[in-house]
């Protein structure tokens, strides 16, 4: 799946204000809501369920990245928002390191395959050290969008 198919670049936050996990999740969900990606009135429940999911097991997979996610009826198709933190956020990651790049993913409740495809796209790139570095070094929403569009156009990169 291409990032441009599901990443909402309007909702990108190049410098998260939050210094903690729940704050970062709240900021990104609010940003998606502001961009009109969530069913009206579902914002608070989305925040609550993403945090609940995160409490079950961290999505901080190590190497400075976290992918908080949940399946929720607030969306008809998968949608993601990117947030960066220059100071780092504690996600209780598997490698105990701070998280500098957060990809929040909300998937529809009734389409598990679509969720898996979006996760595959995300992890294919987050696994690459070069990609993680470029993402972390991005300073504006435009830079982040350019990076994702570039890898969309060059699958071999």
């Amino acid at each position: 799946m291409k990032f441009t198919d599901f990443v909402c670049f309007e909702a990108t936050i190049p410098e998260l204000q939050a210094k903690d996990r729940d704050g970062a999740i709240t900021e990104l969900v609010n940003s998606l809501d502001k961009a009109g990606k969530l069913k009206r009135g579902s914002r608070e429940d989305v925040i609550k369920t993403v945090i609940e999911r995160e409490n079950q097991a961290t999505t901080g997979m190590g190497k400075g990245v976290a992918v908080p996610h949940v399946k929720h009826p607030a969306v008809k198709d998968v949608v993601a928002a990117i947030g960066l933190s220059s100071t780092g956020i504690d996600f209780s990651s598997l490698d105990k390191q701070l998280v500098y790049s957060v990809v929040l993913l909300i998937s529809p409740a009734d389409n598990p395959d679509r969720h898996l495809q979006a996760m595959e796209s995300i992890f294919r790139r987050l696994q690459q050290e070069k990609f993680r570095k470029f993402l972390r070094q991005s300073r504006s929403s435009e830079q982040i969008e350019d990076l994702f569009r570039e890898v969309d156009e060059n699958p071999a990169l």
């Binding site: 997979m61 598990p112 395959d113 898996l116 996760m119 595959e120 696994q127």
Partner: protein
């Protein structure tokens, strides 16, 4: 001599498993898989025919995007390869990650 070589040399075991749970190999099942794989010393790789990934890496396992019905080839190399294969096969096909399967829904 030959038997001795077999037990000392690298043991290689392979099997094909099918993902049975409705939601497929999303992050939590992938985590379970990696946890089981890491209990063994042998090297474990998993392939969906397109990609071959490290069965002990959560990021790589999530990359397989294995939906319900997907077949995965698991390959283990090392002294405890057979035990690893058995444990992983049980997790995927018998326990199906303790998650519901499409058929199970119909049962009372």
């Amino acid at each position: 001599m030959q038997a001795g070589q077999d037990s000392l040399d690298k043991v290689v075991c392979e099997t094909t498993v099918e993902i049975k749970n409705t939601d497929g190999l999303h992050m939590r099942p992938a985590m379970q898989f990696v946890d089981v794989a890491n209990q063994f010393d042998c090297d474990i790789t998993v392939s969906n025919g397109e990609n071959v990934v490290d069965g002990k890496s959560i990021m790589q396992m999530t990359m397989l995007a294995a939906t319900c019905g997907t077949k995965l080839m698991i390959k283990a190399e090392g002294a405890d390869a057979q035990n690893a294969i058995n444990a992983l096969q049980e997790l995927v096909e018998k326990k199906h990650f303790d998650e519901p399967t499409p058929d199970k829904k119909k049962e009372p």
